[in-house]
Symmetry: C3
Subunit: 252 residues, 3 copies
Amino acid sequence: MRRLGTATALLFLSMTLATAARANDMQAVSPALAKYAERRVFGEVWKRPGLSPRDRSVVTLAALIARNQAGEMAQYVNLALDSGVKPAEISEVITHLAFYSGWANAMAAVAVTKDVFAKRKVGSDQLPAASPKLLPMNEAAQAAENEREMRVGQQFGTVSPGVVQYTTDILFRDLWLRPDLAPRDRSLVTVSALIASGQVAQVPYHLNRAMDNGLTQLQASEVLTHLAFYAGWPNVFSALPVAKEVFERRAK
Amino acid sequence: MRRLGTATALLFLSMTLATAARANDMQAVSPALAKYAERRVFGEVWKRPGLSPRDRSVVTLAALIARNQAGEMAQYVNLALDSGVKPAEISEVITHLAFYSGWANAMAAVAVTKDVFAKRKVGSDQLPAASPKLLPMNEAAQAAENEREMRVGQQFGTVSPGVVQYTTDILFRDLWLRPDLAPRDRSLVTVSALIASGQVAQVPYHLNRAMDNGLTQLQASEVLTHLAFYAGWPNVFSALPVAKEVFERRAK
Amino acid sequence: MRRLGTATALLFLSMTLATAARANDMQAVSPALAKYAERRVFGEVWKRPGLSPRDRSVVTLAALIARNQAGEMAQYVNLALDSGVKPAEISEVITHLAFYSGWANAMAAVAVTKDVFAKRKVGSDQLPAASPKLLPMNEAAQAAENEREMRVGQQFGTVSPGVVQYTTDILFRDLWLRPDLAPRDRSLVTVSALIASGQVAQVPYHLNRAMDNGLTQLQASEVLTHLAFYAGWPNVFSALPVAKEVFERRAK
């Protein structure tokens, strides 16, 4: 038997509890689901190499928030905390998805998360400031953002000046620069939410951005595997050709 | 300081209360969200010219119903009533979206709205009749509808005769002619619901119809800005190229 | 008056009760909805020939689970049982959609269904085994599956080996072969879920598979009509051109 670190052991315990929480219900309706949960989802998928349990928690939370599935959310907020996601990061995931999944999705996540935070004594000192000092943009990031603004402005500046302006002011020069969630993790959240809600058209830009921000191809590939279970096969099969094209272009 | 009319002052009070209702929850999870709500969503977006608060209420309600987000709905039904949307109009928005967003979405909206109506003493005398005298179609509308029926019949008459028949009988020669929601407002509801639920393929027909029904390009542009917040950026970015093409074709 | 069999009479009673359950709420918000429910949805659509009430129950349940609409689900689980869907089949529908609509959708359906099962004394002896003897694949099915595996492996084997492997191991060589839901019914569930959640890109493969599994074109056409009401017109109008192409290719 392989020896586990304390953190990993705690995480696996947390996963076992997550399985057990629904086990009786599943047995009463579908013993098969209970089997798949135990053997496949928690027993296998969550333990696959290529994407850490911590990242899988982030992906799962993003999928649940994007799909507005509050009923399952509490156990995965707990699982995220147990797998090393900081309360400040969960806070930022929700804030981020207010813009990438819609305001009401964030409000539903707030309602669930406040109870989990209260039970676990997560106080306001562990939360990000409303207006923190933003991450600096280096020269390359600045150039890329200037290019994005110009391109989007040319495309849609007359179609919806409000959208174009807020995309710059609130998203790329504010939200994305908030320091309590790393850009790579914001990208992980964004890509997961896009795939989980069937927003294929927006995947190429954000998958490229994610990989620019440090997400490896192996990790992106595992995000797809993980989301097959949490967002359903069809969403993932619709994202596969898009991911393939992004991977191939970057390989050139 | 600009003097506000009583109605506007009441509306802003209602918006302040809407913010406050979630403020404690937001503070406990994301002080940033509370800041964005106060400064951006309610403090800025709702007050943008180009689309009245009344229309923004209709757009928001349509988005919430289309996305089946009952948790946030009550406060926006109240906000709609405070911003001048009549109970009969809210009733028709829900009825309309039973067909454009699915029966269960309407049922979820009914469950929320009946409580709001009860609290505000909205009685059955303020509701539309089940079978009112329908709006007449003028000659141009009749010709356009005949053309639509012929086109859809040719395309899909053998694929699904049931869909084709009900589209005519229930939607365009019944629902759309119900008198308690203006055709322009039905279009506003339809377009908002389509964008909010990622139904891009159906936007061109209905955005054109909306503008034929009196929605201006500026208003349509502001619908996109408003929905960026309530339906999430990705849905709006997927709708932008479609809106652009509609606007450009109509400009010719 | 046509004499009804006892089963049909019971079903119509069940439909009447389903209407009545929401009738007061509808009257308090939209008397029009109550009228459409009575005259159109339950009074007409559910009784259309071409698709049995039993199949319509399966389609409706699949749509509600795929769209995560738990609020309406209990009455339709009851209606399904009253229209001849076996508890074991409902159990398999939920298990199937765990993979085709996402894990959390299945969990939401489990939460509702366990209460219905408890009230109707559906015991574990009526549920499918967790690991039953799988249906055998005949030579043609084996060949088709080999071809699918090769094609998907070539397309996406390097993009996401995990997805590709699990698609074979869990879906097509396990889930689809579970004996308590006929392949034709699994296809009916899959196609309904895809259309109901706007997954148009995945419809061609699964609609073809459905028709290979015995779903007739008339039945598929009626699925579209039925889903217009339960998944909303836009989802169905986006599916119509895809269905048309599948029908036309198969006619050649």
